[in-house]
Assembly symmetry: C2
Homo-oligomer: 308 residues x 2
């Protein structure tokens, strides 16, 4: 089993109704790999950082079994930085500052040792960069998952469609599914998206849970109602990391196991939002993950005695 | 077993992206009682209509076992009318016309034969009217459920709080739960609302499902992803009717049975939105309800083999 995550390793600065984070570790590959590390002993990441990226973060990755051989550190460069402020409802946010820095010229080089990886997670990046990753693999991975966003549908739809042809699992939110398909009904949206390449569609709905579509089948994973929703940053990437981590660990890509993977991803995301940044997901252990998964199961557990 | 629903019987005119309904039968007591009629042989309603209310609608109620003895028909009066237009996303709508007509002076009189009803559903009305209903009951019903909305929290919060003290089950949406409690977290909102009277809180989230809170327990019912969402009008009242209909029929108000009731309510609501107005819920039969409930069960069915 092997898992490769390609995405950003970044600095975030977050302002929420509950406080300010200061400049902290962020990025899709960061959240995804820390989340997946609860399921596997080695995760490979490919990303780019600047000379300002501190050793302590690299040490954290190493400690979690995250292989950073594919993380290019650009001499004299600065790490991608994003600053955002969440509104009181925590569902909407304003971007206060975006400094692409070294990400602007990110030309991913997949180390030779990573090119046979069986499970590949392509984090939200320009479709052109996602395509370059696929082109460097020695053979098509067993499973390719891709995350994207409305921005790429607006500015790079043609390229996105080329990448989608090579993807097994697409993870987007409900509005993005509607935009990509032109269909309001998520059932119809899924069917349309299946004609574009992916065989599985995961619709992430944040505090409203997640839907997994495959063929004519559908599975719904609720979101756990939480006492504290502290910071939603990275929840989607954390979900994807748990999802792919479970699949890669179990070596089983049946629909039934994908359903379990969606629950594992949801459980990891529920930890993520309870603290700032990676504070919670980097400290959680497998026992806590197990208990949280049981909370998810209990949430929809029902002994149905059908009335006549 | 007996169920009384107090609410509006009205005319609606709906404009959706899929067409216009013309002037059709609507109102919370209408949707609620038609929905409940799938679970019980007699439902009592209390409402008010004008002289313009046609016999064919009264015949429909009679045919479904809905006792309209408590529906006052005001000579020379006109029936409550609402006209609305749904936006493309079907989640938001504009009110184009509201004519309260006979509803403006609605002073509910509960027929003597209804005053011992065990299950009482108070549809969304002014809190003062809801209170008048409770005062006329011979004894406290076995279960009182109440629906309300943000408007009454804005203009009649003190009266609403008086009614809430006598209510067992409150059904509102997530934003209303946040407004009523002053808490963003729905878990905390539920705990606060429990101190106001209700022992059960149902948070209706439309296409995102429903949450049932009781003490420290929580149950999540998904919404079924549908191919066609044609008209969301009345979905909440249809949910409440199915919920109360199942409880009153089964004579069991345990938390476990309330979970089942939430699924029955959700199933009925899923039928409601597939057609204009009451077109679908007045024609559905128990076999179809049974099959739809199985679809809900399948949606979250999961054989969890926990990984270590």
């Amino acid at each position: 089993m092997s898992l490769l995550i390609v995405g950003t390793v970044a600095f975030d600065e977050l302002i929420t109704p509950f406080g300010e984070s200061g400049k902290i570790l962020g990025g899709s590959a960061t959240y995804g790999s820390l989340s997946a590390s609860n399921f596997m002993d080695e995760i490979r990441i490919v990303s780019v950082v600047g000379e300002d990226f501190p050793q302590e973060h690299l040490d954290l990755f190493a400690q979690k079994g995250i292989n950073t051989q594919g993380v290019e550190q650009v001499k004299g460069g600065k790490t991608f930085f994003w600053k955002g402020k969440y509104h009181n409802d925590m569902n909407t946010r304003d971007t206060l500052d975006t400094q692409l820095n070294v990400l602007a010229d990110f030309d991913p080089v997949i180390p030779e040792a990573f090119r046979d990886t069986e499970y590949l997670m392509l984090g939200n990046l320009t479709p052109a960069v996602q395509l370059k990753v696929l082109e460097q693999m020695n053979q098509r991975p067993k499973l390719v998952a891709l995350d994207t966003m409305n921005f790429w549908m607006d500015v790079a739809l043609d390229e996105l469609k080329v990448v989608l042809k090579q993807v097994d699992v697409l993870t987007i939110n409900d509005e993005e599914a509607r935009q990509l398909s032109g269909e309001y009904s998520l059932v119809k949206a899924a069917q349309k998206i299946f004609t574009m390449g992916p065989e599985y569609l995961i619709i992430k709905k944040g505090e409203h849970g997640a839907l997994l579509f495959h063929g004519s089948e559908v599975f719904f994973a609720p979101a756990l109602p939480l006492e504290e929703v502290f910071d939603p940053t990275g929840a989607g990437d954390t979900f994807a990391g748990g999802f792919m981590g479970h699949l890669a660990h179990s070596q089983d890509i049946s629909f039934e196991n994908m359903k379990r993977a969606v629950i594992y991803g949801s459980a990891m995301a529920s930890f993520c939002v309870e603290r700032f940044g990676t504070d919670q997901i980097k400290n959680v252990d497998r026992k806590q993950v197990h208990e949280r998964v049981m909370d998810f199961i209990d949430l929809t557990r029902l002994d149905m005695q059908l009335s006549k």
